[in-house]
Subunit: 293 residues, 2 copies
């Protein structure tokens, strides 16, 4: 990872790791609820979504502050989705990033409500930003679509329904495009909207982001087969053990790597047409493609 | 119930009962998810919150259409909260309004996701309204506060934590003010905001609505002791059986009725100061106070 990207990541992570939990602590809400919300926000993670948003803003020479509330909102929505996905009725996971999952620590009822609270509060945060009202309304609408029944939740339902059977590549792509892709895409599109990018550039970045989202997921599948367990923090080969359809299981390892490279090339081609400084987004795309956890 | 109110209720109920489920059906989302969302939206209920919103608008001589998206959003949020409250990890209810609860029909995982989807989609609906952007941002912010950790969810957590012990009247009032009161209050305040009411009138209506919310809950407690089971659709005396603190258990039946009347009087006193036609809201307050289910 280059030094420039490293410094940017540290700045962003500080804001999300430190300031976001503090702002939850300040809410006038029951302590147990805030503890549960903060526990999962502090569980770490790569903060990829805030990074993508803030890197997009930086590429348009906009200040970090213009995207701060939105970065927090996106990370809260990502965190709520993990809490609910881990529930016994869903994936029934005991560990997340090497730590006990939310419901293991706080109980199922509080975990469900902490997820609901993070989701609801994220919209308050965006509505409290100092951006122009027209922009705020558009950002909220696109976020609700990306995270809602047509987006992330729809992808999660399709994923659940697909668990019991072999999927086609098309079905697998649908799941990834929505379950993880829509919120990743939104992170970049939101940066472009905040930065007053032209509609053409918004669509070019949307295209870049969709490809990047698939890249992210294909890499995840590859890491599950090839990665080192202690770096990932979950049992290795768990997808194989579940008979879950993945890119490697459908395409084999070699073709999966070719597909990974193809999505990378298409992503970069679209990115290079955008009128902005693309260095940071390129570095992030490289990082996503080459990460080892 | 007077004829004027009856006609207004039927018009509102038609919109919520028919048009809202149709709009969900039209979403490009997995069929099973939409089925689960629609099932609970169609489970009936009094549609009190949309009624309060639209009655407020009507009192300011504003058209039904200006509040339609918001009425749908509020009812979706109320419905999501019922789906999640009924889950095995929460109240573990098998029946709601005499029908099997969402998770009994669709399974726990889909019920959790249907709730998440209704909550998220409600913000898309408001952001899609034709109101002025400044107004939409304010409406979204106030809704996220009312339904979030400081509002409805905070009240639900306090309710859960209070189940195992005797509550003080102050604690019971806190729970009701947030668990049910905040969204009822929002319904009226949102109508006033849409109608460009003066800030003084917004606050008078907020006060009216808070009192009305308590009235609603105290009446619920009374109905649980005195009501007729087939009209309510849940086992009668269930609060007593659970040793749950209620107004009658804390104050006795006679004093509870006095408190009910006192909240009614304070509510009406505040309402009468507002520059609007208060007939419908008065009729709704009477209906809430005198209903038998």
């Amino acid at each position: 990872m280059n030094e420039h990207l490293q410094a940017f990541i540290e700045e962003t992570k500080f804001v999300i790791d430190e300031k976001l939990p503090q702002s939850i602590r300040a809410l006038n809400a029951p302590a147990s609820l805030k503890d549960a919300m903060i526990y999962s926000l502090e569980a770490g993670g790569k903060r990829i979504r805030p990074l993508l948003l803030l890197a997009t803003l930086k590429g348009f020479d906009k200040s970090f502050e213009t995207g701060y509330e939105l970065a927090c909102a996106i990370e809260m929505i990502h965190t709520y989705s993990l809490i609910h996905d881990d529930l016994p009725a869903m994936d029934d996971d005991d560990l997340r990033r090497g730590k006990p999952t939310n419901h293991k620590v706080f109980g199922e009822a509080t975990a469900i409500l902490a997820g609901d609270a993070l989701l609801t509060h994220s919209f308050e945060r965006i509505a409290s930003s100092q951006l122009a009202p027209e922009k705020v309304v558009r950002l909220i609408k696109e976020l609700a679509i990306a995270a809602g029944p047509v987006g992330m939740i729809g992808g999660q339902v399709a994923d659940m329904e697909g668990e019991e059977r072999a999927l086609t590549l098309e079905e697998l792509t649908y799941i990834h495009n929505h379950k993880t892709g829509d919120l990743l895409t939104y992170s970049i599109v939101a940066g472009a909207i905040i930065a007053d990018a032209s509609e053409e550039d918004v669509e070019r970045l949307r295209h870049f982001a969709r490809e990047l989202g698939l890249l992210f997921q294909i890499k995840d599948d590859l890491l599950d087969v090839e990665g080192e367990q202690e770096l990932i923090g979950k049992p290795l080969g768990s997808d194989v053990g579940n008979n879950k359809s993945t890119y490697p299981s459908l395409l084999g390892l070699n073709e999966t790597k070719e597909v990974l490279n193809a999505h990378y090339d298409v992503a970069l081609e679209s990115l290079h047409k955008v009128s902005m400084n693309t260095n940071l987004l390129e570095s992030l795309a490289d990082y996503i493609k080459n990460r080892n956890h």
